[in-house]
C-alpha cells in the first residue's frame, strides 16, 4: 500500500511540474466548450429559397409571403427564369427552388387544385429532407388558410381535424447546447484519460524508467493502481471543471444527483484507463500510441450516439455498443444531467460499465509484463 502511495505521489509531481500537461488538462475543456458547444447543432435554420413565380397573382404572392413568414426560410431571390433558378441551385446560392406555375391562382380557386414543384439540393440528405418537410408544412398552412378564409373555395361539408399539441420535457426549447455539452464532456473525459495515461506509460518505456521499475519488487497491481489513480482523479476534476464551465457559459441545467454522476464517471474512467494501459503495452513510441488511440477513440465516439440516436443504428452497431464504454457514458450522463434519472434508472448501465472495466483491467494486467 505504501509503495502505491509513493508511486502515485511521483505521478502527481510529474503532472503538475509539466506546464504543458496542466495546460492540456484545463485548457482543453475551455477550448472545447467555448468553441464547439454552440457549433454542434443539427437544427436546420436559414434555408435559402429561390422562387420562380410564373403566375404573379394574389394567390402566389400570398404563398410567398407565407414562406417569408416562416422561421426556417430566407427568400433569396424571385425570378421568372427556370434557368436562373437552376444555376443558383447548382452554384450553392440557394438550397431550395420553389416553382409556381402559370395560372396557379386561377386553378386553385376555380379547378380545386394545382401542383407546385420544389427542387432541393439533396447532397446533404438529412437537411434536404428536413427542408422539404418544413416546406410541406408551409404549404399545408397555406392550404388551411385557404380552406378557412377563402370563401370562393368550397370546403367539403364535413371535415375532421385531429389537433396535435406537443411539449418537450426536460428541454422545452429544444436547446441543442443542453444535448451537446454532456456529449462533449464524454469526449473530453475519454480523450484525457486515454491520451494522458497511455502516453505516460509509453514515455516511461521510451526513457527507460519503466525497465528500472521492472527490476524492482513492484507488483503488477501496484503499478496498475498507481497509474490509474492519478488519471482517474484528473478525469474527475476535468469533468467537474467542464460542468462548472457549462453552467457559467451556457447555463446548462443539472437535474440529477452529482454523486451518482461522479460514481458512474469513476467506473467509466477505470474502464477507459484500463484500456489505455492495455493499448500502451502495444506501442513502443508515443506517436504509435497516439495513432492507435486516435483510431479507438474515433470509433468509440462515433458509435456512441454523440449526435445521433443509437436506437436507429443497425443491430450489429447496437451489439458493438454493448462493449463500447463511451456509449454507456453518453447515455447515462445525459439521463442524469437533463432528466434527473436516479440510481435505479441507470443500474443496468452501471452493471455494464463495471463489466467492461473488469474486462479492460484484466487485459491490462494480462498484457503488462515485468519481463520482456
Amino acid at each position: 500500500m505504501r509503495t502505491i502511495l509513493y508511486l502515485i505521489r511521483k505521478e502527481f509531481i510529474q503532472i503538475f511540474r509539466s506546464k504543458f500537461l496542466s495546460k492540456a488538462v484545463f485548457g482543453v475543456p475551455i477550448v472545447q466548450m467555448v468553441i464547439l458547444v454552440p457549433a454542434f447543432t443539427l437544427e436546420i435554420k436559414n434555408i435559402e429559397v429561390c422562387v420562380v413565380d410564373r403566375d404573379m397573382s394574389a394567390e402566389s404572392r400570398q404563398l410567398i409571403s407565407k414562406l417569408q413568414g416562416s422561421d426556417f426560410f430566407i427568400l433569396k431571390h424571385t425570378t421568372f427564369s427556370d434557368n436562373e433558378a437552376d444555376a443558383m441551385l447548382h452554384n450553392n446560392q440557394c438550397d431550395l427552388v420553389l416553382h409556381i406555375p402559370e395560372n396557379f391562382g386561377r386553378k386553385i380557386i376555380k379547378e380545386g387544385g394545382e401542383k407546385v414543384m420544389v427542387l432541393a439540393n439533396a447532397i446533404n440528405a438529412s437537411s434536404a429532407q428536413l427542408a422539404w418537410n418544413y416546406m410541406r408544412g408551409v404549404i399545408q398552412d397555406y392550404n388551411s388558410d385557404l380552406l378557412i378564409e377563402n370563401l370562393q373555395y368550397k370546403p367539403p361539408s364535413r371535415f375532421l381535424i385531429i389537433n396535435t399539441s406537443s411539449r418537450f420535457w426536460y428541454n422545452p426549447t429544444l436547446n441543442y447546447k443542453y444535448y451537446m455539452l454532456p456529449g462533449i464532456l464524454v469526449i473530453l473525459v475519454t480523450a484525457i484519460g486515454l491520451l494522458l495515461a497511455g502516453l505516460n506509460v509509453v514515455r516511461e518505456k521510451e526513457t527507460g524508467t519503466l525497465e528500472q521499475l521492472n527490476v524492482t519488487p513492484i507488483k503488477k497491481h501496484q503499478f496498475i493502481i498507481a497509474k490509474l489513480v492519478p488519471f482517474l482523479l484528473i478525469g474527475l476534476v476535468d469533468l467537474a471543471f467542464g460542468l462548472v464551465l457549462g453552467k457559467i457559459l451556457f447555463n446548462i441545467p443539472f437535474n440529477g444527483s452529482l454523486a451518482l454522476l461522479f460514481l458512474f464517471s469513476s467506473f467509466y474512467l477505470i474502464a477507459v484507463l484500463g484500456l489505455a494501459l492495455f493499448l500502451s503495452t502495444m506501442s513502443s513510441t508515443q506517436p504509435q500510441y497516439l495513432f492507435l488511440v486516435f483510431f479507438v477513440v474515433m470509433i468509440f465516439v462515433m458509435m456512441s450516439g454523440i449526435f445521433t440516436p443509437t436506437e436507429s443504428m443497425p443491430r450489429w452497431a447496437q451489439q458493438f455498443n454493448t462493449i463500447n464504454p463511451a456509449a454507456y457514458f453518453m447515455r447515462v450522463i445525459r439521463m442524469i444531467m437533463l432528466k434527473g434519472s436516479g440510481l435505479n434508472d441507470v443500474l443496468p448501465d452501471i452493471k455494464g460499465i463495471i463489466l467492461i472495466g473488469i474486462g479492460t483491467i484484466s487485459l491490462a494486467i494480462w498484457r503488462y509484463r515485468k519481463t520482456v
Binding site: I35, A120, R136, I162, Q286
Partner: protein, 369 residues
C-alpha cells in the same frame, strides 16, 4: 538527388514497418466510411414510444396501431397514469408519449376536432423533433383516411419534390467528401508534425541537418512519403466508397486528383508549420489534435450545417481549409462540375498553402540561427 531518393526510401520503410501507422492510414478512413455509411443515422428508426390512451375507442386504437406499424416507432408501453410519464422517460427507453383525451373518438365525430398531446423527451432535441414531426405526418395521414371515408376532399395546393444530385437521399454523398478532407488533414498535418518534432526531440534531426543533405531536402524527405501515402489514401477512399456504396465520380477524376494534391500540400505545409511552432512532440500532438481535428470535423460542415450555427462560426469556418476542400470534392464528385465552379475554393487553398510555407520557413530559419 540520389541521396534524397535513398532518404525517402528509408522514411517509407519506417512508416510501413509499423502496423499502428498503417491502422491509422487505412483503418481510420475505412472505419469512418463504414460507420458513417451504415451505423450513423440522422433519422430515427425504432424509437420507443408509449401511449396514455384515456379513450380506448375505435379511432384512438386505430391511430395507435397506425403509429405502431410505421418503421419509426416501437410501442413499448401502455401507460395508465400521468405520473408514469416521468418515470418512463427517466429510464431512457421512451422518446415520446402520446396522450389521448377521454372520449377522444366521440369528440372528434361530434365536434369535428379532437386533441392529442405529444410529450417528447427534449433531452435529445433531434430525436424529439423528428419524433413529433413524423408522428404528426402519420396523424395527418390518418385524418385524411378518416375524411376520405366520410367524403372526398380536394387539396388546393399539392407540393411535389425533386431531390437534385441525390434522388435516393443517401447520406454518403455528404460524408465521403468530409471523410476525405478529414483523413487527409490527419495524415498530412498531424503525422508530419508529430514525426518531425519527434526527430527534433530525440536529437536525430540535428544528425540529419549536419549531414550533406540540405535542410529543404531533409524536410522534403520527411514529407514526401506522406504526400504519396495521402494520395494512396484518396484513391483508397474513393475506391472503397465506390465498392461499398456505388458512389460515382461525376466530374473529372484528374481534376479531383489535382485538387487533392493541392489540399495535401496545404496539409503538409500546415504540419511543417506546427512542427516549427511546437517545442515537444506532446505539444505537436495536442495542437494538431485539438487545434485542428475537432474544429475541422465540426466546422467543415460535413456533419453539422454551418449555416445554422451562430454567425461567428460561419466566419470561423471560412478560415478552416477542410471547408473549402469539402465544397470542391462535393462539386466535382457529386455535381460533376468543371474547374470553373471551384476556382474560388482552389485559390483560397493555394493562398493558405503559400501562407503556411512562408510562415514555416521564417520560423525554421530563426531556429537554425
Amino acid at each position: 538527388m540520389k541521396r534524397l531518393a535513398g532518404f525517402i526510401k528509408k522514411e517509407f520503410i519506417h512508416i510501413f514497418r509499423d502496423f499502428r501507422t498503417l491502422i491509422f492510414l487505412f483503418g481510420i478512413p475505412a472505419a469512418q466510411i463504414l460507420i458513417f455509411g451504415f451505423a450513423v443515422r440522422t433519422d430515427i428508426k425504432n424509437a420507443g414510444i408509449a401511449v396514455l390512451d384515456k379513450a380506448k375507442d375505435e379511432i384512438s386504437t386505430g391511430l395507435i396501431s397506425k403509429l405502431e406499424s410505421s418503421d419509426f416507432f416501437i410501442l413499448k408501453e401502455n401507460l395508465m397514469t400521468d405520473t408514469r410519464i416521468d418515470e418512463v422517460f427517466k429510464t431512457g427507453e421512451i422518446k415520446a408519449v402520446f396522450i389521448f383525451e377521454s372520449e377522444f373518438g366521440k369528440t372528434l365525430i361530434n365536434e369535428g376536432s379532437a386533441n392529442i398531446q405529444i410529450i417528447a423527451d427534449g433531452s435529445e432535441p433531434n430525436v424529439a423533433n423528428l419524433v413529433t414531426s413524423y408522428s404528426r405526418a402519420i396523424i395527418s395521414d390518418y385524418t385524411m383516411e378518416l375524411n376520405r371515408a366520410e367524403e372526398t376532399s380536394a387539396i388546393p395546393v399539392e407540393p411535389e419534390v425533386k431531390m437534385y444530385y441525390n434522388p435516393n437521399l443517401e447520406s454518403q454523398y455528404m460524408f465521403v467528401p468530409g471523410v476525405i478532407a478529414i483523413v487527409l488533414l490527419l495524415t498530412c498535418a498531424m503525422m508530419t508534425s508529430v514525426t518531425i518534432t519527434r526527430e527534433e526531440e530525440f536529437g536525430t534531426m540535428e544528425v540529419l541537418l549536419v549531414s550533406p543533405l540540405k535542410p529543404i531536402q531533409v524536410i522534403l524527405g520527411k514529407v514526401m512519403p506522406y504526400f504519396l501515402l495521402s494520395l494512396i489514401d484518396v484513391v483508397f477512399i474513393l475506391f472503397l466508397s465506390w465498392l461499398v456504396f456505388d458512389i460515382p465520380i461525376r466530374g473529372s477524376l484528374i481534376l479531383l486528383m489535382l485538387e487533392s494534391m493541392l489540399y495535401i500540400m496545404m496539409g503538409l505545409s500546415l504540419g511543417i508549420m506546427i512542427s516549427t511552432l511546437a517545442r515537444t512532440m506532446q505539444q505537436a500532438m495536442f495542437t494538431s489534435l485539438l487545434g485542428l481535428m475537432l474544429p475541422a470535423i465540426v466546422l467543415s460542415g460535413f456533419v453539422f450545417p454551418v449555416e445554422s450555427m451562430p454567425e461567428i462560426y460561419n466566419w470561423l469556418s471560412s478560415i478552416i481549409p477542410p471547408r473549402w476542400f469539402v465544397t470542391i470534392v462535393k462539386n466535382i464528385m457529386v455535381k460533376g462540375t468543371d474547374f470553373s465552379f471551384v476556382i474560388k475554393e482552389t485559390f483560397i487553398l493555394l493562398a493558405m498553402t503559400l501562407l503556411f510555407i512562408t510562415l514555416s520557413t521564417t520560423r525554421f530559419k530563426k531556429r537554425l540561427e
